[in-house]
Each structure stands twice: as structure tokens, then as C-alpha cells.
Symmetry: D4
Subunit: 218 residues, 8 copies
């Protein structure tokens, strides 16, 4: 895959690392020359210091033969315009961070797949965690959430089978991590101390579910 990354903040740098380590052709664009110089010392990729809304810069980055462009800056206007210009060069896959939720519609109109404000996602997860220290929010989707809980020694649910502790509606055991192995929880599997359980729950059942698994496994 030929991938153009716009922006070398934390996310852009991480992405550049992952993509280049996976053997893809990566070009990064950032306004800051120092950042560009620095990343060249770390990964095998191409870095261009310039404005990603400047066609000359995009062309230097090889936008006409790119498979994907990912915009990761904290400036939605720049992200949007870079994606839009890339679309005119027929870049097939356009992905962007959207820093302000209200801008999502504009990106969708241009046909960009978006990832809403990452800071907010992390903050929500920390929030749940600070409320329920033994339960961790893994992901949120519309209408549901995915949590993780570690089974305490001597908890009530220890040695019970999955089937026995599935009383709550709209909740689902997705996985059990035990000694570095991952188990898909069929009905007969029994829970053990130190298991880490991944649970799915509908939004309307979230309170009930968290309470239920907390009482069982903590």
C-alpha cells in the first residue's frame, strides 16, 4: 500500500511507525521541518516539509499513485481540504481525525471516513475507569459498550460456568484471557481467578451489567 500521512503529531508519528514497519510505502507531510527531519532518523519513509493543502506538496508526495491518505492534524479545516484534494487525485481511501464533532458532516459529504476526537475517546475510557477501577471500557459503539474486568480471587463467580452467570439481558461474554491464552466463552467454560473477561453490553443495560459483573467477579 502507498500511504500518505498528513501531520506528525503523536498520532501521525505512531501511524508512520506502524505502517512503515509493516512494509508499506509511507510519505508523511508536516509543516515543521524539524519533525520531518527527526522521523527520517527513525523509520524508512519519505518526509516532506510543507502544507498538505498545497498541490505541489501533494504531488511531491505522490498523491496521484497513493492508495490512501490519512489526515491526523488537530486542524479540521486542513484535514478536510487535504482529503478533498486527494479525492480529486482519485486516492481510493480517505481517512481523517475529526477534532470537533460538529465537522463530521462535512467530512462525510466529501466521502472521508472519520475517527472522532481521539482525546474524547480516551477521556471517556479514563472516566469509566476512575468510577469503576476494576472495570475498563474498551470501546464504545452506537448503542453499546465493550468492557473488561479482572476476576478477583474468591469472587462469587469463580468456578461458575458462563451459562450460570448469564442472567442479565442484553449482555454478552465475548472473550476470556487466561495465562496469555484467549478463550471464546462457550456455555460450559468456567471462570477462574485472574481471568480477564471481555463483556459486551447494550447501552440501556450498561448500568445493570457493570453492577452485575462487578458483584460476580470482584
Amino acid at each position: 500500500m502507498y500511504l500518505i500521512i498528513v501531520g506528525l503529531g503523536g498520532i501521525g508519528r505512531s501511524l508512520a511507525g506502524i505502517a512503515s514497519e509493516n512494509g508499506h510505502s509511507v510519505v508523511v507531510i508536516d509543516r515543521d521541518e524539524e519533525r520531518c527531519a527527526e522521523i527520517l532518523t527513525q523509520y524508512d519513509l519519505l518526509a516532506i516539509a510543507g502544507n498538505a493543502t498545497d498541490k505541489a506538496v501533494l504531488e511531491d508526495a505522490g498523491v496521484d499513485r497513493a492508495d490512501a491518505l490519512v489526515a491526523t492534524t488537530s486542524d479540521d479545516a486542513l484535514n478536510l481540504m487535504a482529503c478533498w484534494l486527494a479525492k480529486r487525485y482519485n486516492v481510493r481511501t480517505l481517512v481523517s481525525i475529526v477534532n470537533q464533532k460538529e465537522h463530521s458532516e462535512l467530512f462525510k459529504e466529501v466521502g472521508v471516513r472519520i475517527s472522532e476526537n481521539p482525546d474524547e475517546i480516551v477521556a471517556r475510557s479514563l472516566y469509566v475507569w476512575s468510577e469503576n477501577p476494576d472495570t475498563q471500557l474498551l470501546a464504545s459503539i452506537e448503542g453499546g459498550s465493550i468492557f473488561e474486568i479482572k476476576v478477583s480471587d474468591g469472587a462469587q463467580g469463580v468456578s461458575k460456568t458462563v451459562r450460570e452467570v448469564s442472567d442479565v439481558k442484553d449482555m454478552l461474554y465475548i472473550a476470556i484471557r487466561r495465562n496469555g491464552k484467549l478463550i471464546i466463552p462457550s456455555g460450559n467454560v468456567t471462570f477462574q481467578p485472574d481471568d480477564v473477561i471481555t463483556v459486551f453490553t447494550k447501552k440501556e443495560a450498561e448500568g445493570r451489567s457493570v453492577e452485575y459483573i462487578d458483584s460476580l467477579f470482584h
Copy 2:
């Protein structure tokens, strides 16, 4: 809950917003006076300009009666020390961002629950997305991943039941989102165009699974 938030970067600000809007008592600490002044105009909370490793600052923030402290700065050393000091004041729940993976051990020794580098998490998700534009990585756990895919009109899997399209081992349908409603996919549920399907897959089956659902629903 009485919550102390250290750092008013993007994550800290979001967290401050969520927590205060949920009616908790929130105190934020940041070195930058302007940031402190600004957040006071947005939320109903207390803001202290100072260094969170300074005991006088922590005491001003009411660390002795706090239920939780969440460290969100990009400086792991500061996060670690703030958590450790809070622990000495018997703050029950300690949560921190860990910016550099190698520091995780130190935080764990102090008893802090950690959230690894958020930039990396987002970057990994963008990476998967730029490779499989119709599939989105929702979350990663040790040994497994949770994905999302939207069912194209006319895709092969349309009108099939969940049971019929469960041939791949180590993969699990978690949820279906349809017209704003969320369905737990029991075996007889049939897939429809525009459904958004949430799927769990073990790491070792990830390639196979993504390929399988891509061929079915895209």
C-alpha cells in the same frame, strides 16, 4: 465522586468536561494559568495552576479527600510522581496515561491503573482502516480484536442468517446496528443492507476473519 485531574491537554479537558457534566466534584491541576482560567469559563469545577508534584498544590486540590486521581499529561515522570504522592494520601483509585510503553512497569509497582499511549491506540485503528476501508478496528485486547463493518447493498451475506455465515473459527458476531437500534445477533437473525456489524476475532484468526467478512458483506 471527588476527582482530581492532572493536566489540561486534550484528554484532560475532555475528561474534565465529562466528569463535571456527570455531577462529580472535579479539581484540575495544570502548570499553565491560562488553561486553568479558560476551563473555568466552561465547566463548574475548581482549577489550580501549579505543579501536581508539589504537595502544597495537591493539598489545595483536596487530595486528602479525593476518591480518584487521573494523570493525563504527556510527561510520564510527572504522572508517576503525582500518582505516588496521591497514594500516600490514600486516594483509592489511581489512573494514568502512560506515554512510553517501557514505563508501564513502574506505574504498576506503584499500583496505578494505566492506559497506554493513546496516540498509538488511535494510530493502530487508523492503520487498519486505511488498509481495509470498509472495516474499522474498534478495540484491541491481548490476543484479540474487535472490528466493525457496514453491509453493502447486494453483498453476498445479505439475507443470510447469523448461523449460516459463522464458518470461520475464533470469530464471533457481537452486535448488529440497524436503523439506530442494536441487536444481539442470535443464530436466526438475518443480515440486511446497511447493517453495521460488530465482530470479535482472535489475533491468530484476524487475517482470515477480516477477509471472510469482507467477502461476505462488502
Copy 3:
């Protein structure tokens, strides 16, 4: 008219002055607080320090009842997004500076009337002037240009009628300025020393025309 101006650089400030002096309701948006504070001391208008791509800022600026939004910043991406957001609030007239010619298409798609890079326009005019000190480029349109020349004392064209000196095709006398009065040049009007003549010429005739009027009036 209710007018929102984005950006308080040289152009934005001038525009704010003209519009408020003409009795319109003017709101200016600029990221820089000092600039906002300063303009308030000069004109009777409203100034908001903030990012014009932030919906809350636009709403503070009264975008829902604005008749026009004019984007004047040197950042095309910001100009574009501000206009697009304003369009969603049904602002009837959208006008923007376009700093990089290649971006014009995107603005047109959004329905923005555009004005290309003002620096370039001025530079072109200075260029013509430095080449032909006695001829001044007034404006450029697609396919044609409008020039001005001052009639020297004793020049060949003095005392000739307009009809007598209209040999060149694709050239047109638009106006004559004489002693502070403006004359529409009908065929019988004669040229006088110190007249300032405004001339239109097609692009393909520009060289020929400039040479012709230079030989006549200089």
C-alpha cells in the same frame, strides 16, 4: 446587511472599516485576541476572538441571521471550511480570498464566490508598471485587460479625435479623465495633454495595443 468577516489581516481590517462606516452590522472573527481588542477601539462593530471553523464561535457571531460571510485569511483551508459551515446556516452570500489558485475549484463546488490571490493581482500590476512606466494596468479579466495612460504634452495623439486613433482592432477607449471630470469617449472627442485615458484591450491584442497607445500618447 448583517456581515461576518473572518480574519483581521490587512484586508479584513480594511473591509471591516468600509462596511461599518457604511452603516452595516459587522461581526469580525479572528484567532488573535489583541487584534480583536484593537479593532473595537476603531469601529462600531462586534469582534470575537476564536476559530471561525468552530460552530460555537460562528453562532456567537450570529451566523444564523447573517446575510453574508467574507473569509479573508491567508489559510485557504480555514476560509473554505468557514464558508461551508456558513452555507449550512443558509448564509446567502459567501465570499472568500483564495490564496492558492489551485484551490478555486473546491470553493466553487461549495458555492463560494472567490477572489484570487490579491498579492498576485497587485504584483502583476506593479510588473506592468515597471515595464511601461506611463501605462498602468487597472484590471485583468479572462481574455482581456484594462489599462490607463496619461497623455504627454506634445504627444502625437494630442488634438486627434477618438475616431482617428482607433486603428487597432480589439481595443476600446472606455473613459477620459480631464481636470477631475470624466468623459465617455464618443468618436468626436479630441485628446488633450494631461488627459488620463482608460483603455480596454483583448489579451491577444495586448502587446499591439499597449505599443500603439504608447506611441500615440507618450
Copy 4:
């Protein structure tokens, strides 16, 4: 032509580009070393970092054999002095931006051809535009203005000849742009939808004229 350009702001850079691309010998002077270094990478010219009121700098720039000097900085005092010094070296053509209208007289006394504040010119044009979205001010001369209007489909003036719609005094059709071609509007030419018409009007007739063409073509 041997041309010295003082100042590398937006206008100076554009001018440097135009002049060097037209094959002239260009020397630019700017106080900022970085700007000088940058423009050298773009065009084939000479750049001198220094103060253009310093005789040594002007001599390095070859002022004794220059045909023209164009001062483009935002500092009128500097522009004025640079022109004056150049005049003492017998530079034939002196051109300058004048940022503050009140300074024009001083420049004229020194014999400099001036271009008044470019920001103001652009701002006036944007202002007219935001008031009359379908009419664009192209240029202003003493006593008159040049406008442009696009003919709407189904407007009253469509299919009329130039002669039929010339009722207003002190107004003149200069040009019609149709499908990328430019037509000099003789009396029998008929207007078509999507034509862009260039119109000249005396100042005292401006209100009347704009109203008239608006009613006809919009």
C-alpha cells in the same frame, strides 16, 4: 530590464516570480535572511539580505545600472527613502506601494509612481461583492468604476441586443465573455445566459447602473 524589488512579502514574492519568469534580471532586497534564502530556491534571481535604505546594500544590488526599483514593503517610510536613494542613482522607473493614503503626496514629490494600499483595494472589491453577490467590482478609477455581472438563465435581458439595453446614461458595455471567448459588444450582439458582462459606469451613475443591470441580467 534590470529590476530591483524591495521587500519579500506576498506582493514582493509574486512580483519576483512574474519578473524572473519573464526573463528579466531581478534582484530582491529584504531584511530577513530566511526569506532571501527561500526565494533563491524558487526563482533564478539574486537576493540580498539587508536594509534597502543602506547605500552599500543598494550598490550591491546594482542600483547604478537598474532600470526600475519597485518598493513593496508595508513600511511607507522605508519605501519612500529607498525610492529616493534610487532616484539619486538615476534609476529611471520608481514604483511603490503606498500603505497610508496620506503619504501619497510625498512619493509624488520624489517622482515615484504609486499604487495605493492594496489591502484597501481588495477590501473594497469584497465589500461591493458581499452587497451585490452577482456583481463584481473589477476596478475603480477617479470618477468611474468597472463591474462584472453574470447573466442568469431566464433573466429579462437574455436575447436582447446591446443596443436595446443601453438606456442608462454614463454606462458602457466593455466586453462579453462567452464560453471562454471574449466579444467586444457592438450594438447588434445579443446577450445569452451565462455570459459574463463587463460594464463601465461613471461614479455619479453607479447606483442607477448597478440597479439597471441587476434588474436586466439577474
Copy 5:
């Protein structure tokens, strides 16, 4: 006297002090607001933060009723333009520092009395001093210099009359300072130890004269 001072560097500040302490009406103009605020705490005068080439600023400073304007900035272009504008308001006395000797002519053409680069004047005096530690250059005029020397105890010239030690041509004793009193040296006055003698000498006699008085009085 109503005096406008342009620039609040070292010289401008000193001048403002002297003039206001002598009971004149003083207005100072400087671009820097802090400098303006500071001087107001020291002297009884008016301070305006702004550009002295801006007519509105000059008018605020009362240029239409000023007796004199003194330009003291290190920017000759600004000094020149400020003086020129003041002249148009009929300010009778125009005085300016000229930082670069080559600019003197332009100032003279405008009718400004100039004081050449003060740094150079001081430097010349330090230079003479470092060469002849016991002789101090007081002033330089075209063709001549004024020096000062202190009479050492036991020097050869002690007890001699002025007439006896006037052998060198083109040299003149101007004054003798003795015990805080100043004596005009007529021929019969005798020199005493610790007298400070002021001497005038023509340029062509400078070497000879300094040598002569050095041998006599040191």
C-alpha cells in the same frame, strides 16, 4: 516651546527629560506602549504610542501647533518621513539624528538640521582618549578639534604664562578650569597643577599640538 520628540530610545528619553524639566510642553511618540507608559511615570509630558509617520498620530501629538520636532530613532527612513510630514504642518524647527552618513543629503533637501550618528561621535572621542589617556577630545568640527588636558603636578608648563607656551601655530587656548571656576586664558594667566585646559587646534596641526601640550602639561 511646544516640542514633539519621535522615539524613546536613550537619546529620546534624555531629551524628553531635559525639555520637560525646562518647562516646555513635550509630546513623545514611540511605537512601544510600554516605553510610553514608563516615561509618563517620570516626567510631566504627553506620550503617544504609535507610528510617527501616521498622520493621525502626528495630529494627536498636536503637530499643527508644534514649534519643533526632533526625530531620534535609529531608523533614518522613519526620521526623514516624520520630519517631512511635520514640515507640511509648518513646524518651524526640524531636527533629526542621522544614523547613516550617506543619508544626510536627503535630510538637508527636506530642510532638516541633522546630528550625525551619535555613536560615531562618542566612538571617535573614546578612540582619541585610548591613544592619549591624558588628553580628551571634546568636539570635532570640520577642519579642527577641541581637546582637554589636565595639568600634572611638576609638569614643565606649570607656572608658565599662556603667552610663553603658545609657540605652536594653529592652536588656541580656550579656557582653564581651576577649582570649579572657569578662566578665559588671556596672555598673562599662569598655568597651575590640576588645571584643566581646553585647547582648540586645526586638523592639520592636531598631531603637533597634542604632542606639544602633552610635553608641556603631562
Copy 6:
């Protein structure tokens, strides 16, 4: 002469120029590397970037074989310490600018010859000038001043002999500059239009003298 100059402000730079052009060995010391680098491109001397109170720096500058050290910075404390250290290396001649009059005593105790605040000297001269535009203060000594005046055409004193116009006590004609030549004014010399006359006057006679020569020659 081997001369060390401390400080590369305006005075230091001028002094460096004068001394090196007179063929002396010059070493300059300034904290600012850029200033050091710049002066090296202008004169044939040695420049050391460092603190002149640092013995290592002074030794690099060759303080042990220097004939003179001149301190020209605006920081009296630095000037004083640099001189004092130089004295310990037996530098024979120590000269310094003294920026604040009250510090003079300390410099004298160390044995440094001082030049009081140059800004004040220049300011006093400008002050006299703005009061008496046709008279210029050349120098001030304790108890007396030296002035210059240009003889106007048709002035009362024209064609008079020196003797005839010497009525004022405590005033002395020092020199006459005529057509680039300098004349020592003996009693029979007559004044001519355009002569520039240098006059000495005691402080107590200053008002009277300036008035007298003004009435004669202006």
C-alpha cells in the same frame, strides 16, 4: 596600539571601525555570537564571543599585552568589572562609558577614565538646537559651552571685524569655517555670509552670548 573593546553596540562597533582602520591591533569582546561574526566580515580584527568579566575570555583577548581597554556596554557593572580585571593585568589605559552618572565615583576609584552617558550628551545638544535652530551646541565642559552658528546673508554682523563684534564678556570666537577652510579669528578678520563660526562662552554668559550672536549673524 593593542586595543581591547568590550561591547559591540553602536559605539563599540564604530570604535572598532575607527581603530582598525587606523592600523591598530583590535580585539572585540561581546556576548552575542552573531554580532561577533558580523563585525569580522567588516574589519580586520579579532572578535571573541564571551563575557568580558571572564578571565579566560580576557586572556584569549590578550589582555596581558594590551595597551588599552575600552568598555562600551550599557551595563555599568560589567564595564566596571572588566576595567578592574584589566587593571590587574597592567593594562595601562582604561576607558569606559558610564551609563548612570552616580556610578562615576566607583570607576574613578578603580582608575578608569570615563565618558558620561552619551545619550545624555547628544540629547542636550539636540535640545539646544531645537530651541535655537541656527545655533548648534558642539560641546559642554564644566562652566562653559562651545557653539556653532552659520552667518545668514544680510545679517547685521556681515563684513564686521571680529574686534567689532566682541562686546559680550566671557565669550570667545574660536574658529571660522569658510569654503572648507578653517580660519583662526584674529581681530581683523571680517565675517562673511555662509561662514560657520565656532564660539566659546562661559555658562553664566550662555544666554546673553547666544542671544548676541543670534542677533548679529542670523
Copy 7:
């Protein structure tokens, strides 16, 4: 005591705290206004923003009735001059940090008691410590050093009397700290595990002594 402190770096701030908490009248002088404002919120003292070599500033600080002035800045020239000026006001006690060892002589000539570069003192102590982790350098005097060592459990010297372990010449036991009590070590006192022993040793015996006590008590 009436104490003036010059400089509000780390040392100055600490000193201000100690002195004001001990009930003395304290005035601090620092060039930085913010530092002055900040310390006023912490202690009950007077703070003056200004240059301590400015007599007006010193007088505002009450130098004429001060008992002591302590100069703590990192600029020796400033420290020296401030002390010298204070001496002229008959301040009895003058103390100063000396940052560069070579300047000590000048301070002594003025009669200032000095404390040599504190950074160097701390660094020397850290150095000894990193070499001998169980031995800590407490202080250095000309010709000798004072060390501290903690007695390990089971070390050879445990239960021995002071007299028994005094074989090394030029070494002296000063004190023993045991359970928060301090014992003057007379000959019969026996050492115990966890005692902290303070030892004096002459410079020439330092190596031998440290080795000896290390072998005994570690």
C-alpha cells in the same frame, strides 16, 4: 536586622523565606517583575523590581538604614557593584555569592564576604558520594574536609570505642548521631549499627581516612 537581598533565583528566594520567617525586615530586589510579584504572595516582605546597581532602586530599598546586603545573582559584576554601592551607604555587612572563583579577589578588596560558586560545592559533594556511596562529604575547608558515614550492621568497627579506632593520623571524630540524638564522641563511646558518624580529616589524609573508616564501618 534590616536585610536587602539582591536577586530572586533559587538562593535568593530561599534566603528571603528564611529571613522573613525569622522576623527580620526584608527587602528583595530583582529585575523581573513577575518574580517580585510572586514572592509577595508568599512572605511578608518588600519587593522592588529594578536594577540593584541603580542608586534610586537601592534607596527605595532603604539601603541607608540596612544592616546587611546579600547579593545572590549569577552575575558577579552586578553582585560586586551592588555591594560596593551599599558600602558607600555604610551597610555594615556585605555578603555575596561569587560565581567565578577568579573574581574573589575583587570582592575581598571591596570588603565583601563571599561564598564561592554554590553549584561547584554541591557538585563536589555529589562527586564524592557517587564514588563512595556510603560516605558523604559535608563540607570542605582549606586543607581539610568533613565527612559522614553510616555504620552498617555487622561492620568491623561496631562495639569498638572511639579510642580503639583512632589509628589514622590527621583524622578526628566530630559527632555521632544515634536515634535522633547527637553525641560528642569522647574516647570511651562505642559505635553502634546505624550510627551516623561525622569525621574531620586533613586534605593530605583524605584518601587514607576515607578508606579507613569505610573498612571499619561499612
Copy 8:
């Protein structure tokens, strides 16, 4: 010894100098590239620009084979984390500055030997000195202090033996410095004018002791 120094402030730089001049292998780590570059020109060591809490940086610094790490920054959190990471690499000796006293406990838990806030130590010493100008505090230990006093000519204690002037309990003469030689004060030694005496005193006897020796030797 292989020594890693974290931080190149005053203390770090001094330490680097001492250690490298003593022939040890020294590596310094500081975030500031310029500081690193500068120290390389002064000493024979290795300098790494980076964050000492970054494992890659520590490994570049050779932490796995280092004998000691000394943290000297003003940021306790950084010092603590750097030491802790070094401990995991089995660095035997860990030393750190502790800037805020309250953090000492955390360092001790990690096993770091600490030196409390050096600024405070110096400030305390200056404080004592400004109170007792003739007595200097050399060091403070828990429960006791070490002072120095210079014997005045004609003081009461001159010519007395040590035994004669040992009346005060809990006080001990440690050393006498005379003409550059150091004497261990046995009972028969007599005090001489200009001797510098080092004295140890218990805290509770400090007031009494200082008064006693002051009355004897001053």
C-alpha cells in the same frame, strides 16, 4: 568509574567537570542540544541530548554498565524516574538532588541517596553569615552545625590555649588554619591573630557557642 549525569544545569556542569578531570568515564544527558554541544567543547566526555526517562536514551548512555547515576535537574519527578529506571539496570549507586523536601521519602523508597535542595543549603549559610558577619556556617547536620571564625587582632582569645577557651559544653574545636597550614587543635595549641578556626556545636548549644567564640575571637 562509569558515571551518568542527568541534567546540565550549574550543578551538572560542575560535576561533569570534576568527574571527567578525575579520569572517569562520564556520560551526560540533557534535553537541550546546545548545552550538550557546549560541554563537549570543554571536557572529554560523552553528551546525549534527550530525555533521561526514555529507555533508549539511557541505553545509549550505557546505563547497563554504569557504576553510578547522579540526577541533578530541578525537576524531582524526572530525577526520581531516571533513578528508578537506572536501578532496574542494576546501576549500583544512585544519587539525586531533591528540590522539594517533601519528595525525599519517595526517593528513599527507591533506594536513592539524596542531597536536599542545594539552594536552601546555601541560603541558610548566607543567612547565618549576614547575621554574624565574622562567623560562617560551613555545614549543618541533624542536631549540630559546623562554623568558622577568623581571629581578630587583639581579640580576647589570642594567645590562649585551646584548653583555656573550652568552657562551653557541646562545642568542639575541629581545626585551625594558619598561614595556609591546617592544625588539629590539641589542648596546648594557642590561638593567634588571623587564625581561622573551625568549630562544631550541637544545635541546642548553637546560640551560646556562637556568642562565646564571637566574644573570644572577634
